[in-house]
């Protein structure tokens, strides 16, 4: 394991410190926590607060999306480990303007439980708290008999849409309604060429041969659903888009937002080649994205791979939300 770090035990503390001191105009760290709150206090006045977070290792998510038009605060847990309720609660308190606080929670056992306990703590303080559990990943079957689907890169589009609505003065209930309308239209699937290495673990989460890819990975470097031989970009696009098509039933007269997300170590060069094939494949279905973003938004440390997110925006005004101006480090 070769990384530019110091003691692996201190990675999160040093990382958050480096981040907030590099971008003090965006982020303010709450003392004795790894929670980061929007520095622009004025922009939060009278609005519903938006709090998200999760284990570290997904940078720029989530702190890179804190700022006017997007999140009010992000809480960073240990690497790949959900943050604890006391820290989430501190963030909730810090951004509460009396209009309530909305939590964007990625669907993992730990995230759901820790955010839930924080909600309990906040409600004891008479802070109204509502939430959405994001489960956009389609690689895993959703079932009453499973943990449910994972929350992955689509979470960033949820941040963006709710952030715009909140900045425009949406109430806590309106945000909940909006979130629940968005969720079923938001689908993601990913492929990895190599696993991530967690600093304290010191080796990759799984090993792939030089000619293997892992299909259906999440963002915590647990193995995916299926291992295959490496294919050219065009073939990967056909497979991933095919799976999304099965879920969303892509139609020519529908309006889609697309997020092509790098998992951390995949260069933009590859991401743009993937886009070339993706846009051709969508064009073959008579589809041209109404909105598109390409880059590293929700990574898995140094995993090589790509995730593809589609959001069906048809008959909604979500495009306006996606295009609404923001002031954050990582979304422009």
């Amino acid at each position: 394991m070769k990384k530019i770090i110091n003691d692996p035990k201190n990675v999160v503390e040093e990382m958050v410190d480096g981040l907030v001191r590099s971008y003090p105009q965006y982020l303010t760290k709450l003392p004795d926590t790894e929670a980061m709150v929007r520095s622009d206090q004025a922009s939060m006045k009278g609005k519903v607060g938006l709090v998200s977070g999760g284990g570290s290792g997904h940078e720029p998510a989530h702190a890179g999306f804190v700022g006017q038009g997007m999140l009010s605060a992000a809480v960073a847990g240990q690497v790949f480990t959900s943050p604890t309720p006391d820290q989430i609660y501190a963030a909730i308190k810090a951004v509460d303007q009396g209009k309530g606080v909305f939590l964007i929670i990625k669907n993992y056992s730990g995230d759901v439980m820790n955010f839930d306990m924080a909600k309990d703590m906040a409600e004891l303080d008479d802070i109204q708290v509502k939430s959405i559990v994001v489960d956009d990943d389609i690689a895993v079957k959703d079932s009453l008999y499973t943990q449910g689907r994972r929350g992955v890169a689509g979470t960033v589009l949820m941040h963006k849409i709710l952030g715009a609505a909140a900045d425009q003065g949406a109430s806590l209930d309106e945000l909940e309604t909006l979130a629940n309308q968005v969720m079923p239209q938001l689908k993601t699937i990913a492929v990895a060429l190599s696993a991530a290495t967690v600093p304290e673990v010191g080796k990759p989460g799984f090993e792939l041969a030089d000619d293997e890819i892992e299909f259906g990975v999440g963002i915590h470097s647990e193995p995916g659903y299926r291992r295959e031989k490496i294919k050219p970009s065009k073939a990967l696009v056909q497979e991933l888009l095919g799976k999304l098509d099965d879920e969303l039933k892509l139609q020519a007269d529908h309006q889609y937002a697309v997020l092509v997300n790098g998992m951390g170590a995949t260069p933009l060069m590859d991401q743009y080649v993937f886009c070339h094939d993706l846009l051709d494949e969508l064009a073959a279905r008579d589809i041209e994205p109404a909105f598109m973003k390409v880059g590293n938004y929700m990574t898995s440390i140094d995993m090589a791979g790509i995730s593809l997110t589609l959001l069906d925006m048809t008959t909604t005004n979500w495009l306006d939300y996606l295009q609404y101006p923001v002031k954050t480090i990582a979304w422009s």
Partner: protein, 193 residues
Amino acid sequence: MLTVENTTAWLNQFAAQIEQHQSYLSELDTPIGDGDHGGNMARGLAAVKTALATQPADLTKLFQATAMALISKVGGASGPLYGTAFLEMAKQSKTDTDLGTLLAAALAGIEKRGGATTGDKTLIDVWAPVVAAVQAGKLTQTVIDDAVASTKPMVAKKGRASYLGERSAGHLDPGAVSSGYLFTTLLATEGIL
């Protein structure tokens, strides 16, 4: 019978086991998880040791201090689950300090918090048979070991391991193993059982 002294001894022993087997727990959490269970538990139990270094006034305060340390330091899935377990024991201990009753309350809290049940390949697959054995006055090391081993062939239906589907079979559940240490040290602590 639980006392502040022997419960403190138990949890310090548990912390020592976690510390000793930290890498192993994270190894288990690698093929079917994200490799952090050992680190999570070690961080949390270190905080528990610190909290218990100042002798708590009574069992309730002991369980509460333990719960708070775990909740605020472990994180992940295991933090809320172990934390809730001790929180429930704290609540229950106000009226009843019988070990079986406390552990049953803890297990109920775990099931409610995480929504899992026996057979889902989680730490519940150790808690459930162990708690039953404690209530029947029949806890042995074999009960604990068998419970931990029972998770190996299971296909996970809760937690991170469930994303792997069939591929989760053939691996011990890390939370089950750490719970195995909890109960092994319980059994070995003089004066409790």
